[in-house]
C-alpha cells in the first residue's frame, strides 16, 4: 500500500475555491467517491463549501481557534519538565455519517460492549472462556491491566465497563473496522460535545438543510448510568467525578463533564475513607459519597492496593469498593478487555457469549507471541504497523511503510526479545476527509471514536469524536502527536 496520497487518475474536475484540485489517494474518501463526485450525504455541504472563499473560511477557522483558547479547551502535553497548555485544533469541515450507516455502527458497538462486559464478568469469576479453551490463558494473565486482586469481586449490577470509547477506522472499501476499544478511562467526549457548540456558533450556515442528531444528551445519559450503579439504600446518591487534577491532560474534560452533570469534581485529597465508606471534605464537614466516576487509572487509584507512591488516589478506596459501599465507573481491572494482546480475541468472545457473528470486524492482527505469526511479522516489517500491547496514545508504534531501516532493525530486536509484547496489523490507510490546510481543503486521514454507555441498557449517543491527522499522509491521529478533531454529524434520516 502507498502511504502518501497520490493524485488519482479520476481526480474531480477541479471546482473553484476551497476544493480546487482536491486530490484523492488510495484511501477511501469520506466526501467524494472514486469518480470525484460528492457522495449523496455530502452534496449539500460540498456545494456550500464551494461558495465560501478561502479567506472567509480562514477567518472563521481563526474564530474557532480563538474560541477554543478562550474557553480553555485544551490538553496538556508533557515534553520537557513543564506541561504546555495547547488547544486541540478543530477543523471546521464536519464529518457526516448517514442514518443507515450509523445504525450498523450502533448495533455493532452495542454487541461489542455487551460481549466485553460478559467477558470481564467471566474472567474475574468462573473463567469459563478459558476452561472452554476459546482463549489462551496466557494473554490474559500477561495483560498489564489484569487485576488478580480483583478476582471474585462483586461489582454493582455486574457491569464492569460503563463508559467505552471504541476507535473505528474505514478501510479502502469504506468498511468500518474496530481498531481498538478503550475500556478504562476513555477520553474525548467533551470534544465531541464542545466541537458541536463551536461549529454552530462559528459556521451556523453549514447546518442548513441537514438534520443533525443532537449529542447534548450525553452528560444526562452518563449521569443516569452513574445513578443506576449506586449502592442499594442510597436514595438520592451523591455522585462525584474523581480527577487527577489540573495537570492531567484531560482536565478540561473532567471539569466539563462534572459541570454538565451538576456533580462535584473532586481530587483524591478531597476524599477520605472511614470504615470502608467514602466521604468528601466539605465546608460543612464530611459528606458521604456513593458513586465515583473516576478518571484516574487503576494504578493510581489507591496507594494501599496499587502503586504505594501515588498521591492522586484515596487510601482504602479499593476496599470500600469491594465492600459494596461505593460504586466505581469504570470498574477496576477493565484494562484486560482493551489490551492489545486480548483484542484479537474479541470476535471469538462475541461468538462465544452471544452466539452471534460480529457486526463490526476487527483489523486483521498478527500476534508475535505465535511463532508462525511472528515470522510473518518479521518478514513484513515494512508493510505492517507494529504496536506494543500495553501502550496507548500513539506511543511505542512502528508504521512500517514510513519507517527507516534503523527503526525496523530496532523493532526487530524488540519483537524477538519480547514477542508477547507485540502485535502487528496491515497498514490500513484510514479514510480521508477534506480538511482545511494552507488555505484550501486537502484530504487528511481520520478515525472515529463513538462513546458507548452501559447502565440499565447500552446507549450510544449519536455522535463521535473524529480525530484527524493534520500532517500530510500521517496516519497517527492522537492529540499528543499533532492530531486535530472534527465535529461529527450523525444524520436523522
Amino acid at each position: 500500500m502507498r502511504l502518501l496520497d497520490q493524485p488519482s487518475p479520476n481526480a474531480a474536475p477541479s471546482p473553484g475555491g476551497l476544493l480546487r484540485s482536491y486530490s484523492q489517494g488510495a484511501a477511501y474518501d469520506e466526501m467524494f467517491d472514486r469518480t470525484g463526485s460528492p457522495r449523496d450525504h455530502y452534496e449539500v455541504l460540498c456545494r456550500r463549501l464551494q461558495h465560501i472563499s478561502p479567506e472567509e473560511f480562514w477567518r472563521r477557522k481563526t474564530m474557532t481557534d480563538l474560541s477554543m483558547r478562550q474557553d480553555g479547551v485544551g490538553f496538556t502535553v508533557y515534553r520537557q519538565e513543564e506541561g504546555i497548555e495547547r488547544i486541540w485544533p478543530m477543523d471546521p469541515v464536519p464529518r457526516i455519517i448517514p442514518a443507515a450507516e450509523w445504525e450498523g455502527i450502533e448495533q455493532g458497538l452495542v454487541q461489542r460492549l455487551t460481549a466485553l462486559n460478559l467477558f470481564l464478568n467471566d474472567i474475574y469469576h468462573e473463567q469459563r472462556i478459558l476452561h472452554d479453551r476459546v482463549l489462551d490463558a496466557r494473554p490474559i494473565y500477561e495483560a498489564a491491566f489484569f487485576r488478580p486482586e480483583f478476582m471474585d469481586a462483586v461489582v454493582p449490577r455486574g457491569i464492569y465497563v460503563h463508559v467505552c470509547g471504541t476507535d473505528l477506522i474505514r478501510d479502502r472499501d469504506g468498511r468500518y473496522v474496530v481498531l481498538e476499544d478503550n475500556a478504562r478511562t476513555p477520553s474525548g467526549v467533551s470534544y465531541m460535545l464542545h466541537n458541536r457548540q463551536v461549529l454552530k456558533r462559528v459556521f451556523p450556515q453549514l447546518f442548513e438543510q441537514y438534520d443533525v442528531r443532537a449529542t447534548d444528551d450525553y452528560p444526562a445519559a452518563l449521569r443516569d448510568v452513574l445513578q443506576h450503579i449506586a449502592p442499594a439504600g442510597a436514595a438520592d446518591p451523591t455522585v462525584v467525578l474523581l480527577t487527577p487534577g489540573i495537570f492531567n491532560s484531560a482536565y478540561f474534560e473532567h471539569s466539563f463533564l462534572a459541570q454538565r452533570m451538576g456533580i462535584e469534581l473532586v481530587e483524591g485529597r478531597d476524599l477520605l475513607i472511614d470504615q470502608n465508606r467514602v466521604f468528601m471534605r466539605t465546608t460543612r464537614g464530611l459528606k458521604r459519597v456513593d458513586v465515583i466516576y473516576r478518571r484516574i487509572d487503576d494504578d493510581f487509584l489507591d496507594p494501599l492496593t496499587f502503586r504505594p507512591e501515588s498521591s492522586l488516589g484515596v487510601p482504602g478506596l479499593v476496599n470500600a469498593y469491594r465492600s459494596g459501599n461505593v460504586a466505581l465507573a469504570n470498574s477496576i481491572g477493565t484494562g484486560v478487555a482493551d489490551d492489545k494482546g486480548v483484542y484479537p480475541f474479541v470476535p471469538a468472545m462475541i461468538r462465544y457469549y452471544l452466539k452471534q457473528d460480529p457486526i463490526l470486524p476487527n483489523v486483521e492482527t498478527f500476534r508475535a507471541a505465535e511463532a508462525s505469526q511472528r515470522s510473518h511479522i518479521l518478514a513484513n516489517l515494512d508493510h505492517l504497523v507494529v504496536k506494543k500491547v500495553n501502550e496507548s496514545g500513539g506511543y511505542g508504534m512502528l508504521i512500517g511503510p514510513a519507517s527507516t531501516a534503523a527503526q525496523r532493525a530496532e523493532f526487530r530486536g524488540l519483537i524477538q526479545a519480547n514477542p508477547r509484547d507485540y502485535i502487528a496489523q496491515p497498514t490500513i490507510q484510514l479514510s480521508t476527509h477534506p480538511t482545511f490546510v494552507d488555505g484550501r481543503l486537502e484530504g487528511r486521514h481520520v478515525d472515529c471514536r463513538p462513546f458507548i454507555l452501559c447502565g440499565e441498557k447500552i446507549v450510544v449517543v449519536p455522535g463521535a469524536l473524529t480525530r484527524v491527522a493534520l500532517p500530510r499522509g500521517s496516519l497517527v491521529v492522537n492529540s499528543s502527536q499533532g492530531g486535530g478533531s472534527k465535529d461529527t454529524w450523525v444524520l436523522a434520516n
Partner: protein
C-alpha cells in the same frame, strides 16, 4: 461545597482584587510621576520607593512566598521596575503572578464557576501574556493596567450576575472584601508615612497631588470631591477611606460587607466558634466610632496596623472554620 473548592474561590477572588489594586496604584503612580517631575527634585525617587512599599506589603502579609527583593538595576531604571511589578513571574507580588495564581485557582474549580466567568478570566490571562500586548504595554502602560482592571471587574461583575449567591459566591465576596480592606489600609499606611513631612505651606501643591493620587488609587477621587468641596485635605482623605459607610472601597464598607456575607455563610444555626465574626465586629466598631483627632494624636500607623492584623486574623479564622487549610 468541597473545602478545596471554597478555598480556590476565596483565593481567586483575593488575587484578582490584589492585581486590580496594584494595576491602578501603578497607573496612578505613573501619571503622578509625570506631574511631580516638574514640581519637585527627587519626587520621582520618593514615589518609586512608595510604589515598591505598597507592592511589597501586599506580598509579605500573605506569606505566599518570601519577598525576593528588587532586581538589580531596578532603582535607576523605571522601566525595569515597572516590568518587575507588572510582568515578572519571579516577583511573587507582580500583577502577572497574581493573575496567574488567580487563573490556576479558578481552573481547579472551573466546574463550579459559570463558563462565562472562567472564559473572561482566561481571556485576560492570555491577553496579558501575549508578546505583542506586552510590547505595547511597555510603551503605553495605561493600556495594560486598564486591561487588568477591566478584566478583574468583569470577573467580579459576572460572578454577581451569573452565579447563585450561595456558598461559592459568598467565599468570592469574602476574598474580595477582606483583600480590599487590607489593601486600602496598607495604602493609607505607606502614603501617610511618606507624606507626613509635607507640612510646609510651600509643599501644599505637592501634598495636594499626592493625596489626590491616594484617592485615585482607590477610585475615590470623584466620590470624595462630591462630599468635600474644599481642596484635598489629608485628614479628610484618611477619614473618608477608613470610615465612609457607603463608599465601596472604604475599609468600613469592606468589613461591613464581609461581616454580612459571613452571617449568610454561617446560616441560621452557626456551628463554629464565631471567632471571625468577633474579630470583624471589633475592627468595625473601631471604625464606626472612630475619633480621627485622637488617632492622629496617638499615631495613625499603630491604628492601621492593628486593623490590618484583625483582618488577617479574621481571614485565618474563616479558613480554619471551613477547613480551607487541609
Amino acid at each position: 461545597m468541597l473545602s478545596r473548592v471554597a478555598d480556590a474561590l476565596f483565593w481567586t477572588s483575593r488575587y484578582l482584587e490584589r492585581a486590580e489594586h496594584l494595576a491602578r496604584v501603578l497607573d496612578v503612580g505613573f501619571h503622578l510621576e509625570l506631574d511631580l517631575h516638574g514640581v519637585l527634585a527627587g519626587g520621582r525617587e520618593q514615589e518609586t520607593a512608595a510604589v515598591i512599599g505598597i507592592a511589597q506589603i501586599g506580598i509579605t502579609q500573605f506569606g505566599s512566598a518570601p519577598f525576593a527583593g528588587r532586581p538589580e538595576g531596578a532603582e535607576s531604571e523605571d522601566t525595569s521596575l515597572y516590568d518587575w511589578l507588572s510582568f515578572d513571574l519571579n516577583n511573587p507580588g507582580s500583577i502577572m503572578t497574581c493573575i496567574q495564581h488567580a487563573r490556576t485557582n479558578a481552573r481547579s474549580v472551573r466546574g463550579t464557576i459559570a463558563p462565562a466567568v472562567w472564559r473572561e478570566l482566561n481571556k485576560l490571562y492570555w491577553q496579558i501574556r501575549d508578546a505583542d500586548f506586552m510590547a505595547r504595554a511597555r510603551e503605553s502602560p495605561h493600556d495594560f493596567f486598564g486591561a487588568v482592571e477591566t478584566g478583574c471587574h468583569l470577573f467580579q461583575g459576572l460572578c454577581d450576575t451569573t452565579m447563585t449567591h450561595d456558598e461559592g459566591w459568598q467565599f468570592i465576596q469574602l476574598g474580595k472584601f477582606l483583600e480590599r480592606a487590607d489593601l486600602t489600609l496598607r495604602l493609607l499606611d505607606v502614603k501617610s508615612r511618606q507624606l507626613q513631612q509635607l507640612t510646609d505651606p510651600v509643599d501644599l501643591p505637592i501634598a495636594n497631588l499626592q493625596w489626590a493620587a491616594v484617592l485615585k488609587s482607590c477610585l475615590a477621587y470623584e466620590a470624595y470631591q462630591r462630599l468635600y468641596i474644599s481642596r484635598v485635605e489629608p485628614e479628610c482623605v484618611i477619614e473618608f477611606l477608613l470610615t465612609h459607610a457607603l463608599f465601596p472601597r472604604s475599609v468600613r464598607f469592606c468589613l461591613e460587607e464581609a461581616a454580612k456575607v459571613l452571617t449568610l455563610l454561617e446560616g441560621p444555626t452557626p456551628v463554629g466558634d464565631g471567632k471571625a465574626e468577633r474579630l470583624l465586629g471589633r475592627a468595625l466598631s473601631d471604625l464606626r466610632f472612630l475619633d480621627l483627632d485622637e488617632i492622629l494624636r496617638e499615631g495613625l500607623h499603630p491604628f492601621l496596623t492593628r486593623a490590618a492584623r484583625m483582618c488577617a486574623q479574621a481571614s485565618a479564622a474563616i479558613q480554619e472554620q471551613y477547613a480551607l487549610i487541609a
